[in-house]
Protein backbone atom coordinates (compact mmCIF):
# COMPACT_ATOMS: atom_id res chain seq x y z
CA UNK A 1 0.00 0.00 0.00
CA UNK A 2 1.39 3.44 -0.87
CA UNK A 3 2.40 5.54 2.07
CA UNK A 4 2.56 9.31 2.34
CA UNK A 5 4.33 10.97 5.27
CA UNK A 6 4.23 14.61 6.28
CA UNK A 7 7.09 16.37 8.01
CA UNK A 8 4.82 18.36 10.27
CA UNK A 9 7.32 20.87 11.61
CA UNK A 10 8.06 22.13 8.06
CA UNK A 11 4.42 22.59 6.99
CA UNK A 12 3.16 26.17 6.49
CA UNK A 13 -0.43 25.07 5.90
CA UNK A 14 -0.68 26.57 2.40
CA UNK A 15 -3.14 23.74 1.61
CA UNK A 16 -1.86 23.34 -1.97
CA UNK A 17 -1.44 19.59 -1.35
CA UNK A 18 -5.10 19.33 -0.32
CA UNK A 19 -6.16 21.31 -3.41
CA UNK A 20 -4.49 18.86 -5.83
CA UNK A 21 -5.12 15.50 -4.07
CA UNK A 22 -7.33 13.47 -6.45
CA UNK A 23 -8.71 11.42 -3.54
CA UNK A 24 -9.30 14.48 -1.34
CA UNK A 25 -7.86 12.74 1.73
CA UNK A 26 -5.53 15.56 2.88
CA UNK A 27 -6.83 17.82 5.65
CA UNK A 28 -5.30 20.31 8.04
CA UNK A 29 -4.74 18.94 11.55
CA UNK A 30 -6.51 20.39 14.59
CA UNK A 31 -3.26 21.06 16.48
CA UNK A 32 -0.59 23.61 15.54
CA UNK A 33 3.10 23.05 14.83
CA UNK A 34 6.08 25.04 16.15
CA UNK A 35 5.61 27.74 13.51
CA UNK A 36 1.97 28.16 14.49
CA UNK A 37 0.39 26.51 11.47
CA UNK A 38 -2.15 23.69 11.34
CA UNK A 39 -0.04 21.09 9.49
CA UNK A 40 -1.38 18.98 6.63
CA UNK A 41 -2.18 15.38 7.42
CA UNK A 42 -3.86 12.35 5.84
CA UNK A 43 -6.96 10.89 7.40
CA UNK A 44 -7.52 7.76 5.34
CA UNK A 45 -4.04 6.51 4.43
CA UNK A 46 -5.53 3.38 2.79
CA UNK A 47 -7.17 5.52 0.08
CA UNK A 48 -3.78 6.96 -1.01
CA UNK A 49 -2.73 5.86 -4.50
CA UNK A 50 0.83 7.17 -4.19
CA UNK A 51 0.42 9.51 -7.15
CA UNK A 52 2.70 12.05 -5.39
CA UNK A 53 0.76 15.06 -6.73
CA UNK A 54 0.77 16.56 -3.20
CA UNK A 55 4.54 16.18 -2.97
CA UNK A 56 5.02 17.68 -6.46
CA UNK A 57 3.24 20.90 -5.55
CA UNK A 58 4.42 21.21 -1.93
CA UNK A 59 6.75 24.25 -1.86
CA UNK A 60 8.36 23.23 1.44
CA UNK A 61 9.26 19.58 0.77
CA UNK A 62 7.07 18.42 3.63
CA UNK A 63 5.84 15.30 1.90
CA UNK A 64 7.53 11.97 1.19
CA UNK A 65 5.79 9.25 -0.80
CA UNK A 66 6.62 5.54 -0.71
CA UNK A 67 5.24 2.76 -2.87
CA UNK A 68 5.65 -0.98 -2.77
CA UNK A 69 8.00 -2.48 -5.35
CA UNK A 70 6.16 -4.02 -8.25
CA UNK A 71 6.55 -7.79 -8.31
CA UNK A 72 8.76 -9.12 -11.12
Amino acid sequence: MPKVTFREERCKACELCASVCPKKIITMAGHINEMGYHPATVKEQEKCTGCAMCALICPDLVIEVEKEEKAG
Binding site: L56, P59, V65
Partner: protein, 248 residues
Amino acid sequence: MRKVFSRPESLRDVPFHYCPGCTHGVIHRLVAEVIDELGVRDIAVGVGPVGCSVFTYEYFDCDMFQGSHGRAPAVATGIKRVLPDRVVFTYQGDGDLAAIGTGEIVHAAARGEKFTVIFVNNAIYAMTGGQMAPTTLLGQVTKTTPYGRDKEINGFPVKICEMLAPLDGSAYLARVAVHNPKNIINAKKAIKKAFQVQLDGLGFALVEVLSACPTNWGLDPASAMRWLAENMIPYYPLGEYKTPGRTL
Protein backbone atom coordinates in the same frame (compact mmCIF):
# COMPACT_ATOMS: atom_id res chain seq x y z
CA MET B 1 8.87 0.09 0.02
CA ARG B 2 10.49 2.34 -2.56
CA LYS B 3 10.57 6.08 -2.18
CA VAL B 4 8.83 7.65 -5.16
CA PHE B 5 9.27 11.15 -3.85
CA SER B 6 11.89 12.58 -1.50
CA ARG B 7 14.16 15.60 -1.06
CA PRO B 8 16.87 16.01 -3.74
CA GLU B 9 20.46 15.83 -2.48
CA SER B 10 21.37 19.20 -4.01
CA LEU B 11 18.98 20.93 -1.64
CA ARG B 12 20.19 21.44 1.94
CA ASP B 13 17.87 20.14 4.63
CA VAL B 14 16.87 23.54 6.02
CA PRO B 15 13.44 25.20 6.04
CA PHE B 16 12.74 27.82 3.36
CA HIS B 17 12.05 31.37 4.57
CA TYR B 18 9.36 31.83 1.88
CA CYS B 19 5.72 32.65 2.65
CA PRO B 20 3.16 29.81 2.72
CA GLY B 21 2.23 28.78 -0.84
CA CYS B 22 5.14 30.61 -2.48
CA THR B 23 6.28 28.59 -5.49
CA HIS B 24 9.94 29.53 -5.11
CA GLY B 25 10.22 26.32 -3.05
CA VAL B 26 8.91 24.25 -5.96
CA ILE B 27 11.33 25.88 -8.41
CA HIS B 28 14.30 25.41 -6.02
CA ARG B 29 13.40 21.74 -5.80
CA LEU B 30 13.15 21.33 -9.58
CA VAL B 31 16.58 22.91 -10.12
CA ALA B 32 18.07 20.70 -7.38
CA GLU B 33 16.47 17.58 -8.88
CA VAL B 34 17.91 18.43 -12.30
CA ILE B 35 21.40 18.98 -10.81
CA ASP B 36 21.07 15.58 -9.09
CA GLU B 37 19.86 13.78 -12.21
CA LEU B 38 22.59 15.24 -14.44
CA GLY B 39 25.18 14.37 -11.78
CA VAL B 40 26.74 17.82 -11.91
CA ARG B 41 26.52 18.79 -8.23
CA ASP B 42 30.30 18.82 -7.79
CA ILE B 43 30.79 21.19 -10.72
CA ALA B 44 27.66 23.32 -10.34
CA VAL B 45 28.02 27.01 -9.48
CA GLY B 46 24.87 29.05 -8.86
CA VAL B 47 24.47 32.82 -8.75
CA GLY B 48 21.67 34.21 -6.61
CA PRO B 49 19.77 37.46 -7.14
CA VAL B 50 18.50 40.24 -4.94
CA GLY B 51 14.85 39.74 -4.10
CA CYS B 52 12.88 37.13 -2.21
CA SER B 53 15.27 34.42 -3.36
CA VAL B 54 18.36 36.28 -2.13
CA PHE B 55 19.14 33.42 0.27
CA THR B 56 19.51 30.74 -2.44
CA TYR B 57 23.05 30.13 -1.13
CA GLU B 58 21.48 28.81 2.07
CA TYR B 59 19.42 26.28 0.15
CA PHE B 60 21.40 24.83 -2.75
CA ASP B 61 24.06 22.36 -1.72
CA CYS B 62 26.58 23.36 -4.39
CA ASP B 63 28.91 26.32 -4.89
CA MET B 64 26.87 29.52 -4.73
CA PHE B 65 27.48 33.20 -5.35
CA GLN B 66 25.22 36.13 -4.64
CA GLY B 67 25.30 38.90 -7.22
CA SER B 68 24.40 42.56 -6.89
CA HIS B 69 20.86 43.47 -7.89
CA GLY B 70 20.33 42.39 -11.52
CA ARG B 71 24.02 41.59 -12.07
CA ALA B 72 23.85 37.80 -11.74
CA PRO B 73 24.37 37.29 -15.52
CA ALA B 74 27.53 39.45 -15.39
CA VAL B 75 28.85 37.46 -12.40
CA ALA B 76 27.93 34.18 -14.12
CA THR B 77 29.74 35.34 -17.27
CA GLY B 78 32.91 35.83 -15.24
CA ILE B 79 32.63 32.44 -13.53
CA LYS B 80 31.88 30.54 -16.73
CA ARG B 81 34.69 32.19 -18.69
CA VAL B 82 37.28 31.56 -15.99
CA LEU B 83 36.01 28.05 -15.18
CA PRO B 84 34.49 26.80 -18.46
CA ASP B 85 34.22 23.22 -17.16
CA ARG B 86 31.69 24.23 -14.48
CA VAL B 87 27.93 24.17 -14.84
CA VAL B 88 26.89 27.74 -14.08
CA PHE B 89 23.35 28.92 -13.47
CA THR B 90 21.67 32.08 -12.26
CA TYR B 91 18.43 32.15 -10.32
CA GLN B 92 16.70 35.51 -10.72
CA GLY B 93 13.31 37.08 -10.13
CA ASP B 94 11.49 39.52 -12.39
CA GLY B 95 12.44 42.59 -10.35
CA ASP B 96 16.06 41.50 -10.67
CA LEU B 97 16.22 40.23 -14.26
CA ALA B 98 13.51 42.22 -16.04
CA ALA B 99 14.05 45.60 -14.36
CA ILE B 100 17.40 46.65 -12.97
CA GLY B 101 19.19 43.75 -14.71
CA THR B 102 17.68 44.07 -18.19
CA GLY B 103 20.96 45.28 -19.67
CA GLU B 104 22.92 42.38 -18.17
CA ILE B 105 20.51 39.68 -19.35
CA VAL B 106 20.14 41.10 -22.88
CA HIS B 107 23.89 41.30 -23.40
CA ALA B 108 24.60 37.93 -21.81
CA ALA B 109 22.12 36.45 -24.30
CA ALA B 110 23.53 38.50 -27.18
CA ARG B 111 27.06 37.32 -26.40
CA GLY B 112 25.78 33.76 -26.22
CA GLU B 113 27.26 33.17 -22.77
CA LYS B 114 27.13 29.45 -22.08
CA PHE B 115 25.24 29.40 -18.77
CA THR B 116 21.69 28.67 -17.69
CA VAL B 117 19.23 31.23 -16.34
CA ILE B 118 16.24 30.36 -14.17
CA PHE B 119 13.97 33.40 -14.41
CA VAL B 120 11.16 33.42 -11.85
CA ASN B 121 8.33 35.71 -12.98
CA ASN B 122 5.65 36.45 -10.39
CA ALA B 123 4.57 39.79 -11.92
CA ILE B 124 5.34 41.81 -8.79
CA TYR B 125 8.14 43.12 -6.57
CA ALA B 126 7.58 40.72 -3.71
CA MET B 127 10.43 41.27 -1.25
CA THR B 128 9.86 45.02 -1.03
CA GLY B 129 6.14 44.64 -0.36
CA GLY B 130 4.28 44.24 -3.64
CA GLN B 131 5.07 47.18 -5.92
CA MET B 132 4.49 47.14 -9.69
CA ALA B 133 7.23 45.33 -11.63
CA PRO B 134 7.91 45.59 -15.38
CA THR B 135 6.15 42.22 -15.65
CA THR B 136 2.99 43.30 -13.76
CA LEU B 137 -0.07 42.61 -15.91
CA LEU B 138 -2.35 45.36 -17.26
CA GLY B 139 -5.11 45.99 -14.73
CA GLN B 140 -3.21 44.21 -11.95
CA VAL B 141 -3.54 45.94 -8.58
CA THR B 142 -0.27 46.43 -6.70
CA LYS B 143 0.91 48.80 -3.97
CA THR B 144 1.99 51.35 -6.57
CA THR B 145 -0.88 50.74 -9.03
CA PRO B 146 -3.85 50.80 -6.63
CA TYR B 147 -6.30 51.26 -9.53
CA GLY B 148 -4.64 48.56 -11.65
CA ARG B 149 -1.74 48.92 -14.10
CA ASP B 150 -2.75 51.41 -16.78
CA LYS B 151 -0.98 51.19 -20.15
CA GLU B 152 -1.27 54.97 -20.64
CA ILE B 153 0.59 55.67 -17.41
CA ASN B 154 2.65 52.53 -16.69
CA GLY B 155 3.20 51.07 -20.15
CA PHE B 156 3.04 47.40 -21.09
CA PRO B 157 4.45 44.30 -19.34
CA VAL B 158 7.81 43.03 -20.57
CA LYS B 159 7.97 39.63 -22.27
CA ILE B 160 11.49 38.37 -21.71
CA CYS B 161 11.42 35.15 -23.79
CA GLU B 162 10.00 36.98 -26.81
CA MET B 163 12.54 39.78 -26.28
CA LEU B 164 15.60 37.49 -26.22
CA ALA B 165 14.48 35.15 -29.02
CA PRO B 166 15.77 37.28 -31.96
CA LEU B 167 19.28 37.42 -30.47
CA ASP B 168 21.57 34.97 -32.23
CA GLY B 169 23.42 34.13 -29.02
CA SER B 170 20.39 32.65 -27.26
CA ALA B 171 20.14 28.90 -27.81
CA TYR B 172 17.28 27.78 -25.59
CA LEU B 173 14.34 29.87 -24.37
CA ALA B 174 11.25 28.41 -22.75
CA ARG B 175 8.39 29.60 -20.60
CA VAL B 176 6.79 27.23 -18.10
CA ALA B 177 4.51 27.52 -15.05
CA VAL B 178 4.35 25.77 -11.67
CA HIS B 179 0.70 26.19 -10.70
CA ASN B 180 -0.28 22.51 -10.93
CA PRO B 181 1.46 19.10 -10.94
CA LYS B 182 1.29 18.69 -14.74
CA ASN B 183 2.97 22.02 -15.37
CA ILE B 184 5.53 21.33 -12.63
CA ILE B 185 6.57 18.15 -14.50
CA ASN B 186 6.85 20.15 -17.76
CA ALA B 187 8.81 22.87 -15.96
CA LYS B 188 11.36 20.32 -14.81
CA LYS B 189 11.78 19.00 -18.37
CA ALA B 190 12.49 22.54 -19.61
CA ILE B 191 14.97 23.23 -16.80
CA LYS B 192 16.76 19.96 -17.57
CA LYS B 193 16.98 20.92 -21.26
CA ALA B 194 18.37 24.33 -20.34
CA PHE B 195 21.14 22.66 -18.32
CA GLN B 196 21.76 20.13 -21.11
CA VAL B 197 22.15 22.97 -23.65
CA GLN B 198 24.90 24.35 -21.43
CA LEU B 199 26.57 20.95 -21.01
CA ASP B 200 26.56 20.59 -24.79
CA GLY B 201 28.13 24.06 -25.13
CA LEU B 202 25.37 25.31 -27.40
CA GLY B 203 24.93 28.79 -25.93
CA PHE B 204 22.73 30.85 -23.67
CA ALA B 205 19.73 29.09 -22.09
CA LEU B 206 16.88 30.67 -20.14
CA VAL B 207 13.76 29.19 -18.59
CA GLU B 208 11.09 31.67 -17.52
CA VAL B 209 8.98 30.16 -14.74
CA LEU B 210 5.59 31.75 -14.05
CA SER B 211 5.39 31.71 -10.27
CA ALA B 212 2.75 32.63 -7.69
CA CYS B 213 3.03 35.24 -4.93
CA PRO B 214 -0.08 34.64 -2.79
CA THR B 215 1.02 37.18 -0.14
CA ASN B 216 1.46 40.17 -2.43
CA TRP B 217 -1.33 39.20 -4.80
CA GLY B 218 -3.63 39.17 -1.76
CA LEU B 219 -4.95 35.67 -2.48
CA ASP B 220 -4.91 32.34 -0.68
CA PRO B 221 -2.42 29.91 -2.30
CA ALA B 222 -4.98 27.79 -4.19
CA SER B 223 -6.69 30.94 -5.58
CA ALA B 224 -3.26 32.34 -6.52
CA MET B 225 -2.63 29.23 -8.65
CA ARG B 226 -5.95 29.79 -10.42
CA TRP B 227 -5.15 33.50 -10.88
CA LEU B 228 -1.84 32.54 -12.48
CA ALA B 229 -3.54 30.14 -14.90
CA GLU B 230 -6.35 32.54 -15.80
CA ASN B 231 -4.39 35.80 -16.02
CA MET B 232 -0.67 35.24 -16.48
CA ILE B 233 -0.67 32.38 -18.99
CA PRO B 234 -2.89 34.21 -21.56
CA TYR B 235 -0.42 37.14 -21.56
CA TYR B 236 2.73 35.03 -21.15
CA PRO B 237 2.07 31.97 -23.35
CA LEU B 238 3.87 28.79 -22.29
CA GLY B 239 6.18 26.85 -24.58
CA GLU B 240 9.64 26.68 -26.06
CA TYR B 241 10.49 29.92 -27.84
CA LYS B 242 13.83 28.77 -29.12
CA THR B 243 15.64 25.44 -29.13
CA PRO B 244 19.08 24.81 -30.63
CA GLY B 245 18.67 24.86 -34.39
CA ARG B 246 15.04 25.88 -34.34
CA THR B 247 13.34 29.26 -33.81
CA LEU B 248 9.61 29.73 -33.43
